[in-house]
Amino acid sequence: MLPADFRTRRFQAVGGYLDSWAMRSETVVQVQALVKRYGSKTAVNGLDLTARAGVTAVLGPNGAGKTTTIETAEGYRRPDSGTVRVLGLDPVREAGALRPRIGVMLQSGGVYSGARAEEMLRHVAKLHARPLDVDALMERLGLGSCGRTSYRRLSGGQQQRLALAMAVVGRPELVFLDEPTAGLDPQARRATWDLVRDLRADGVSVILTTHYMDEAEQLADDVAVIDAGRVIAQGSPEQLCRGGAENTLRFTGRPGLDVGSLLKALPADCSAAELTPGAYRVAGKVDPQLLATVTSWCAQHGVMPEKISVERHTLEDVFLELTGKELRS
């Protein structure tokens, strides 16, 4: 999902920006057997997560332990057991070395209620050696017109965007974004996505949490699904969609076709059925090869398949399949 002009961008690039392909193999966050309790409540329960350079999306139901995991990586919480390494450093013991290299967007808050938007962003910029241009960043995130508005008077979406700007203004190597697009309107969401893509293209790694499956599909190189304090699936969005659930091919034809004969033509792990008279469903790993097999079987049997359709499972299907459909407490 690289931008179309990625190659040209690469060759125009200046300074310390890494080759994106080589970069992908580099591990930015390594969490091993992490356990974190709040009193008697175990929020994270033996969690393993490896985030490579690029964009990693962390998904999971409310209360799954996403924020706890991210905040442990940010150095806010000391693991009860297990190890966490961020850019090769211990986020608690080596906090001083790590902090200038990461950008943090908390799930909420983080700004003086009386501070003006621009004032706060300029302040965070001043804490860094080579910050981004504040005006350009404000403009880019649609905050240009509310620079003089105090934080408590900003709308929820504007507050979110300010927090995002604060996370990237110091030119970090790695950015943690806890639900960066929660409560944003569609335009602001796109603006956030575009910024994440540009960060990635410029060699900044991003770890974000989200409840939006399309967001993970659009942005992430890797997705980790957390449930009840553990990672229950990890991989690229494509891998997850392929691996978790079967895909489906449907077509209509004359009723009463010989499904047994169709089944013999298909690979072993596929199933085929006539759901209602004339409506057929093939389930399995749907790829071009399978589509060709089905259509050539139809040709051999003089069947004109109508309304032929392929339904790919979305990340949302996979997510619901993995984490169950019932509401979590």
């Binding site: 806010y76 902090r99 808050g109 009386g114 302040h123 860094h128 050696a129 110091g170 030119r171 540009d198």
Partner: protein, 256 residues
């Protein structure tokens, strides 16, 4: 369209003195912009000084009222900034995740605390300037060694800061708001600021005399009104409060 490499990582902390200066400047701005804070730190001390110097409401003993009141009001100013104001501001910063967010920035925690102290000191300098000018206009004639006065103010600031931060770092923001205002009011009345401590029964005097506000106002009054050399007793009381308060704040402060 952004130009290429805009976001290419170039991490790094700003030089420490610059970070602390920026943080102190922002904290001071936040304080001066806040109406309730200004009421506490500027309006109330000023009104008390002007009102009680010009109208004979409380018996301030022999001598001019302004000579009795100015040291007390200076002590009150220190308390309003270092204790009440700092406790309330820090309590809400903790509540709104400001302290948490800053903890992830390159500014180390001790740097943040240094900046807070610097901001308190800057505010106090402004308060002292304002109150001194008003006091002089009311005919104030101070005595004593200015360095002793400075030492008292600094120790008082340390004592009140410790107590303010202890409150802000352990209680909920709303509780801190209520408690800090209540304490301000009680100590205003019972800490020898405008009402001389000898108006209280002997038993109460002994206890009240050990409060940091009483030690500060008594010490300042000893020097500024009576020209005493060094009020060791008051300095000792303030030092004990400073060590205990800052120690407890260091041990129990919660950042979120």
């Amino acid at each position: 369209m952004t130009t290429v490499g805009t976001y290419a990582p170039q991490p790094g902390a700003a030089p420490l003195p610059r970070m602390i200066a920026a943080q102190a400047a922002l904290e001071t701005k936040m304080l001066l912009r806040n109406g309730e804070q200004l009421l506490l730190t500027v309006v109330i001390p000023t009104l008390l000084l002007v009102l009680f110097s010009s109208v004979d409401i409380v018996d301030t003993g022999k001598g001019r009222a302004v000579d009795f009141l100015t040291p007390g009001v200076l002590a009150l100013a220190v308390m309003s900034t270092a204790f009440t104001g700092q406790a309330i501001a820090t309590g809400f910063e903790r509540r709104y995740g400001v302290l948490k967010r800053l903890a992830a920035s390159p500014l180390p925690r001790w740097g943040l605390m240094t900046a807070k102290t610097a901001s308190v000191l800057v505010t106090e300098v402004l308060q002292v300037l304002l109150l001194t000018v008003i006091a002089f206009a009311l005919g104030w004639s101070p005595h004593g060694n200015p360095l002793t006065v400075l030492l008292l103010l600094v120790l008082g600031t340390a004592a009140f800061s410790g107590l303010g931060l202890l409150m802000a770092g352990t209680l909920k923001a709303e509780a801190t708001l209520g408690a800090a205002n209540l304490v301000f009011l009680l100590l205003l009345v019972g800490g020898g600021v405008i009402v001389p401590l000898d108006k209280f029964p002997q038993g109460a005097q002994d206890v009240l005399g050990l409060l940091p506000i009483s030690a500060l106002s008594d010490g300042l009054r000893a020097v500024l009104q009576h020209g005493t050399g060094t009020p060791w007793g008051d300095l000792g009381v303030l030092a004990v409060w400073a060590v205990a308060g800052l120690g407890a704040a260091g041990a129990f402060f919660r950042w979120e």
